[in-house]
């Protein structure tokens, strides 16, 4: 009896010790990867971790090709690439642990917030040391990544909102692609007979689309630190956009029976969408029978549209900054950017990179560079856009008026800014 007792307790002790050892090993293994690159080496070397949000298989394959090209030209540097699902959530956790990847995507919308929180590394000293050319980057894209006179990232690519039109439907309606607000209405009118529901325009109930029209009307919602949602120019643009829905010329994608306007176009529920270059390769891959083309965004009082972009940046606590900078330099430099935008999945963010991508002509997108403003907002504005889009949805449903909506958003913006 006594002997049995002893061996049982011994076994328990062994189990506990084994578990403790394995936990300890795991913890120390985590620690071991710190500071793997040589400290203050003359030439940058070692491993660079690159992280981005999840992208489609085609995009990921292309990115890996670009990375291989980089590694060939920089034999002392190895890149480990990770596509991270739930990107924002995961990145914030890494920032909190002070172990961010060396190089990562920085969304133009999130950039001011992450910069304000001190998470992003200013790149000016690296730029100066390498004599990196900044001028070729489209200035309107750089604004999102500049703060306090410092530069925090370089755009890796970009996309503006332009028109996508089903050319077969256009021909059937015997109409020409619209270039002004008035033409948009008249062409839509003509297209009514060609779409099943009689609503040819796909109008997302989102400020991330409607804002283009605000810019076309010469308006803006933020002047310095003052929100101007209630200004007449903004109101007129909103009235025009909402008016298209109210007059039955268009509707939100969900109402048309699609998840987004690209899908609405593909399902032939809409003839015209206001999306970006990401419609390629989505449409050819999912709805190959549709005949469509890119067309320039319509003009109001002036040309205006939205640009969506993301930069390559480094974190304040990234480990291998020297090699990280080499990677950023390459990816956003002429060679890397040219390779990256060669397949037509994205547009080069530099004016000195010319590409001839497959698929429909990208000229309307490239020409938008002059008038496309980056979608980027001060820290704390996510709540403003949540309110704004909910209000816009309510307006679409007829449950809210435009002036009331604009006042509400304006108040919310004032709150966010102080």
């Amino acid at each position: 009896m006594k002997r049995g007792n002893v061996s049982l307790k011994l076994a328990a002790l062994v189990v506990v010790l084994m578990l403790a050892v394995s936990i300890g090993a795991g913890v120390s293994a985590g620690k071991r990867t710190k500071g793997q690159g040589p400290v203050a080496a003359k030439a940058p070397s070692g491993t660079v971790t690159l992280s981005g949000w999840s992208v489609g298989a085609t995009e990921e394959k292309l990115l890996k090709q670009v990375i291989s090209a980089f590694e060939r030209s920089h034999p002392r540097i190895k890149v480990t690439y990770d596509a991270i699902p739930n990107y924002d959530q995961a990145m914030l956790a890494k920032f909190s642990a002070r172990r961010p990847p060396d190089v990562f995507y920085l969304n133009s919308e999130k950039a001011p917030t992450w910069i304000k929180q001190g998470l992003i590394l200013p790149l000016d000293s690296y730029v100066k040391k390498s004599k990196f050319a900044v001028a070729p980057f489209y200035p309107k894209l750089m604004t999102a990544f500049r703060a306090n006179g410092k530069t925090y990232g370089f755009p890796k690519d970009w996309n503006p909102l332009v028109l996508q039109i089903n050319t077969a439907m256009l021909a059937k309606a015997k109409a020409k692609p619209p270039t002004t607000w008035a033409q948009l209405k008249s062409v839509a009118q003509k297209l009514r007979s060609v779409v099943p529901d009689g609503r040819p325009l796909c109008l997302a109930a989102e400020w991330q689309r409607m804002m283009a029209f605000v810019y076309q009307n010469g308006g803006s919602v933020l002047q310095g630190k003052t929100p101007t949602f209630t200004s007449p120019k903004v109101r007129q643009a909103v009235e025009f956009y909402v008016g298209l829905q109210k007059s039955g010329l268009g509707n939100s994608p969900a109402k048309l029976g699609a998840g987004w306007c690209g899908e609405a176009l593909g399902k032939e529920k809409a003839a015209i969408a206001f999306e970006g270059g990401w419609v390629y390769p989505y449409l050819p891959e999912n709805f190959p029978k549709i005949k469509w083309k890119f067309f320039p965004m319509v003009k109001g009082k002036q040309a205006g549209t939205l640009a969506f972009t993301a930069a390559y940046s480094m974190g304040t606590h990234s480990k291998n900054k020297e090699a990280g900078w080499e990677l950023i330099k390459y990816l956003t430099g002429r060679t890397g950017m040219k390779l990256w935008s060669s397949k037509g999945l994205v547009l080069p963010a530099r004016s000195d990179v010319k590409v001839k991508p497959p698929g429909p002509s990208r000229t309307p997108l490239l020409n938008a560079a002059a008038s496309a403003r980056a979608w980027s907002w001060p820290s704390g504005f996510d709540k403003v856009w949540t309110v704004a889009n909910n209000e816009l949805g309510a307006v679409f449903e007829g449950k809210q008026t435009i002036p009331a909506m604009l006042k509400k958003i304006n108040d919310e913006a004032k709150d966010a800014l102080d």
């Binding site: 007792n5 049982l8 307790k9 328990a12 002790l13 506990v16 578990l19 924002d88 959530q89 914030l92 920032f95 909190s96 002070r98 999130k110 917030t113 992450w114 929180q117 001190g118 998470l119 109930a205 939100s252 969900a254 109402k255 048309l256 029976g257 998840g259 304040t316 820290s379 704390g380 504005f381 996510d382 709540k383 949540t386 309110v387 889009n389 909910n390 209000e391 949805g393 309510a394 679409f396 449903e397 449950k399 809210q400």
Partner: protein
């Protein structure tokens, strides 16, 4: 083999060794509980008094986060939606779970199959089910094809949250059924026999005998249901793309918390939302304990 006399000392040290073994076994789960549950809970309480970011404390605010929440219209909308959601889902879950349990408890043929079939939806991940539901409830989806309408169920403010309610009631019914089934089978059969001889027909037996004796089941299902409903997030997030729309209809407390934390990176403010939710859940659980609490022992 010489047998040793057991001295007081050896008994004492044997007790100590036994205690140590006990602690050794409990140590890991206890440590896990403290580290992964208790500590973050306390931490959240703590940071709710600050403006807190990924890199730590930014500014001491005291109760300002809570004062701001008192005036926060979007938070109020989230709270109202969540409470309305809970008020509908909890009774429905309880009723449906109880009904299924009563059905499955009959000695019907194939009851094992039905028990498994009813439980099946609970096994699938809520994200997967919501993704499928998005297709079924689309304006050109299966449901509309069956009942002949063309509503975009998740895209209209009058039906979006209600669709999520229906989805969740259906998904969790199997789990509630199992809880009720356990409570149902704990009722001794001779009580039913006595009731039958006392002239009680099926409905009367259910209302006067079964239902009151299910108090432990009501309590457990009620509490689990309330706690789950107040924390609804997955479906609201997937269905609205994180925006809580259309027209705020799918904005729930946890969705608001998530947006504040991840999008606006206001960790302290989000923590304050969490603390309020915790207090709400705690209070409702205590209330339920008082209503259903006193369990009857046969």
């Amino acid at each position: 083999m010489a047998t040793e006399a057991r001295t007081e000392r050896s008994i004492g040290s044997e007790r100590v060794r036994e205690a140590l073994v006990g602690y050794a076994f409990v140590f890991l789960p206890l440590a896990s509980f403290l580290i992964f549950f208790f500590y973050p809970l306390g931490y959240a309480f703590y940071i709710s008094y600050f403006d807190w970011g990924p890199l730590g404390k930014i500014e001491t605010l005291g109760l300002e986060n809570y004062r701001d929440l008192a005036d926060d219209e979007l938070f109020h909308k989230a709270l109202k939606n969540t409470l309305r959601y809970t008020a509908v889902v909890v009774p429905c879950q309880m009723a449906l779970g109880l009904t299924l349990a009563v059905v499955v408890n009959q000695a019907l043929r194939g009851r094992t199959f039905f028990r498994a079939a009813f439980y099946f939806p609970s096994l699938a991940s809520s994200a997967a089910i919501t993704a499928v539901a998005l297709y079924i409830l689309a304006s050109d989806g299966l449901l509309n094809a069956l009942i002949g309408t063309d509503k975009a169920w998740f895209a209209e403010s009058g039906t979006a949250l209600e669709s999520i309610m229906g989805l969740n009631i259906w998904t969790t019914s199997g789990t509630m059924m199992l809880f009720y089934l356990a409570a149902l089978q704990a009722i001794p059969t001779d009580v039913y026999e006595a009731a039958a001889i006392d002239g009680a027909k099926s409905w009367r037996t259910f209302w006067r005998i079964t239902f009151p004796l299910l108090k432990p089941g009501h309590f457990f299902v009620g509490v689990v249901s309330v706690i789950g409903s107040l924390q609804v997030f997955d479906q609201a997030f997937i269905v609205s793309g994180g925006g809580g729309g259309p027209n705020y209809s799918t904005m729930t407390v946890v969705l608001y918390l998530y947006n504040q934390a991840i999008n606006d990176v206001r960790f302290g403010y989000a923590a304050a939302v969490g603390v309020i939710l915790f207090a709400l859940i705690f209070t409702l659980t205590v209330v339920q304990r008082l209503v259903f609490g006193r369990m009857e022992a046969a």
